[in-house]
């Protein structure tokens, strides 16, 4: 997902102290935790990691789709894509703000991204090679993201839940936009349809990996679930995504690139083939096709903008001094 493999810290071996027990009780009772409330340090740190990772994913996630804004094939599609990529910036902003309530500055989080200390979703390290990739991202990636984000609107931390409500409101139709784009291609020329199939071939497996490692390998899941900052397991969400997507692909007349994919009547779900987790871990470690480019682009934008950010502070300070002098 947009926040993969979030470390929840080492659990205390000692029995939870009374305060932490009360804290857990509040979460169990469905009472939201707010910024000034007492919280265990591990909860705070885990949330910072999770929310900032989510925010970074939105910001880095602007780049693969942004790659096609200047080449969008109609003015309507260009407007839709431009607004969508801008929405991602907004989502990043809402999420950074939510993380800031936990006592970390946005600049610090940005710095953590740029130094490689903080992660972002592995999915955005794949290239967008054709216009159809923009459709595939909307359909598969945003479709998967929203599946995870809707439950997070009920997560235990108030500012995070409220940010997610806003994000979901704006994002629910991004998936439709992507599907609409794919639909136009699949109803178009043979070359357009081939473009759509090629995009599905390349984005299918990374989209499944995006939910994170299988539940058995997901060491921090249990704690995050107890804290209600993770509401479904990776495999649950992944299965849901597969079940939802197969009929959508069929409608498009596209083939999902998995020879083992078949309906399992007994389970009431689709079975799917083995995921190449070596590829996933390679991408997470920084060796995906675009890791370096993505981070370099972000770093350069940040460095190039330093004079701009500093100058606006300098001007605001000058103005404040002038007003002060006038008042004196």
């Amino acid at each position: 997902m947009y926040a993969q493999m979030v470390d929840t810290g080492s659990p205390d071996n000692q029995a939870l102290d009374a305060r932490e027990a009360r804290f857990q009780q509040r979460i169990d009772d469905g009472i939201r935790i707010e910024p000034q409330d007492w919280m265990p340090e591990r909860y705070r740190k885990t949330l910072i990691r999770q929310i900032s990772q989510h925010a970074h994913s939105e910001i880095v996630g602007q780049l693969p789709e942004g790659n096609w804004i200047t080449r969008a094939p109609s003015l309507k599609r260009k407007a839709i894509l431009l607004a969508k990529v801008q929405d991602e910036a907004g989502h990043g902003l809402y999420l950074y703000s939510a993380a800031e309530t936990l006592g970390i500055s946005r600049d610090q989080m940005v710095d953590d991204l740029h130094t490689g200390k903080a992660k972002y979703s592995s999915i955005f390290n794949y290239p967008t090679l054709t216009w159809a990739d923009v459709g595939a991202i909307g359909w598969l990636v945003d479709g998967s993201a929203i599946m995870n984000q809707i439950p997070l609107c009920r997560c235990s931390y108030g500012p995070y839940a409220r940010a997610m409500i806003r994000v979901c409101k704006e994002e629910a139709f991004h998936m439709r936009q992507g599907y609409d784009l794919m639909l136009a291609l699949c109803r178009g020329t043979p070359a357009q349809k081939a473009m759509a199939q090629d995009a599905l071939n390349r984005w299918w497996w990374p989209s499944l990996m995006m939910f994170g490692p299988p539940d058995g390998d997901s060491v921090h899941s249990a704690q995050s679930q107890a804290w209600k900052i993770k509401l479904f397991t990776n495999d649950e969400l992944r299965q849901k995504m597969v079940d939802q997507t197969v009929p959508q692909a069929e409608y498009l007349g596209l083939t999902i690139p998995d020879a083992d994919l078949k309906w399992n009547a007994e389970r009431g779900h689709y079975d799917y083939g083995a995921i190449d987790w070596d590829e996933f871990y390679a991408v997470v470690k920084g060796n995906g096709p675009c890791n370096r480019e993505r981070l370099d682009t972000r770093r350069q934008a940040w460095d190039d903008g330093a004079w701009f950010r500093e100058a606006l502070v300098a001007h605001a300070d000058k103005q404040a001094q002038r007003e002060h002098a006038r008042a004196a």
Partner: protein
């Protein structure tokens, strides 16, 4: 970090007659730019007719440790709520 733009809380009034509601936060070097940024960040979908911004550090919040002292006493004042006074169904206009 040095020179980070301060954080502002943004309040938007969605329609005339309604109160301003907290919608989120953003960074800006001063109040005037905070208003501009709020317009560009929080009213992209026709959400607003008026914007307030307040520096986040200027907000004074109640202490969560005071929660019981501040808010529990109101729980026992049932007579402050309309449902406390059941009225006979046949009497109209109440």
């Amino acid at each position: 970090m040095k020179n980070e733009w301060p954080l502002w809380e943004v309040f938007i009034r969605s329609q005339h007659g309604l109160a301003h509601r907290h919608v989120g936060s953003l960074h800006a070097p001063d109040a005037a730019m905070a208003i501009n940024n709020a317009r560009d960040v929080y009213t992209r979908r026709n959400e607003g007719t008026s914007i307030w911004v307040v520096k986040a550090v200027d907000i004074t919040a109640s202490d969560p440790d005071d929660k019981q002292a501040l808010f529990d006493p109101a729980q026992s004042k049932v007579y402050r709520h309309p449902t406390f006074f059941p009225m006979p169904d046949e009497v109209k206009g109440l």
